[in-house]
Symmetry: C2
Subunit: 148 residues, 2 copies
DNA sequence: TTAGTTGCAAAGGCTTTGCACGCGC
DNA sequence: GCGCGTGCAAAGCCTTTGCAACTAA
């Protein structure tokens, strides 16, 4: 093989993309890495991060990449009511989310029950389930103190 | 009056509104009753139902009523990703939702675990929790058969 | 080369906001 | 009568869609 196999910092992202059957493009790598740095980022936040190193990257490309990642199972999409949707790298563990109804802040949290039994309904009613999501609504410490 | 039929839905709605500390107005009663007839209705669906008996009712009033109901704890709001938000009367039982990622259909379902332990996170991280929500994503029977 | 992606632009849908009039209390 | 809620209208935000040019494989 004639390819130069250099050890680029983008290697992790590229590998992940390839493994998921996605073409490796600069915007996608940038989006993937931005997600790694931002735990719960909105499409806009990702775009802002990507833009720092790639001024020409469009918001639509970010949406596109995020959508592709989600379809490929690389990313998990969460939707805080009343706020823009957020994305996070799917890291395998089945954690849930604490969402502030005031500012939209999101905090990861483990389920109280051991092996996430919440992820299996008693009756699927014929549905073909693909994923489950548990969300806790409330006020984050900052917003709670302001409200009080 | 002559409520020889079944129940008098108006009385129930009025009582519920008063009990919640809300003024009893025609649009609100109409919205409340529409919710009783429609298990999981979107603001638009509620508006359509309300309009049948109240042509002048505005969509904004419906949103307003729905928001007030939610704040008052009379109604529960659910947000299927990618679809308009839905509302349902809060009936006390802690059921969860099966949501079709294709058509947005929603089906009620009980949690597999007995007393809804899923509703209590292992660590609130300082958040003041007000509610919890469990959502199962997948394809409804109809969409699954079409996709297959 | 060939097909998948990007970038640019605009449209689309859902929800919220502002203000004068009317109704509930 | 007072104040909240309604109706009318418009704006706002986030997200999706369409198409020509480009780039990865």
């Amino acid at each position: 093989m004639t390819h130069t196999h250099e050890l680029a910092p983008h290697a992790g992202a590229s590998d992940a993309l390839r493994a998921a059957g996605l073409r490796v493009t600069e915007p996608r790598v940038a989006v993937y890495e931005a997600l790694g740095a931002l735990p719960h980022a909105s499409a806009d936040a990702v775009h802002a991060a990507v833009s720092e190193r790639m001024p020409r990257a469009s918001l639509q490309s970010v949406y596109n990449a995020l959508g592709d990642f989600t379809d490929a199972g690389l990313v998990r999409r969460i939707e805080p009511a009343g706020h823009a949707m957020l994305f996070e790298l799917r890291i395998g563990d089945n954690h849930h989310h604490l969402v502030c109804t005031s500012c939209g802040a999101v905090q990861d949290v483990d389920c109280a029950v051991g092996h996430a039994p919440c992820l299996h309904p008693s009756d699927a009613h014929g549905f073909t389930l693909t994923s489950a999501e548990v969300t806790y609504w409330g006020l984050c410490p900052a917003c709670a103190s302001v409200a009080a």
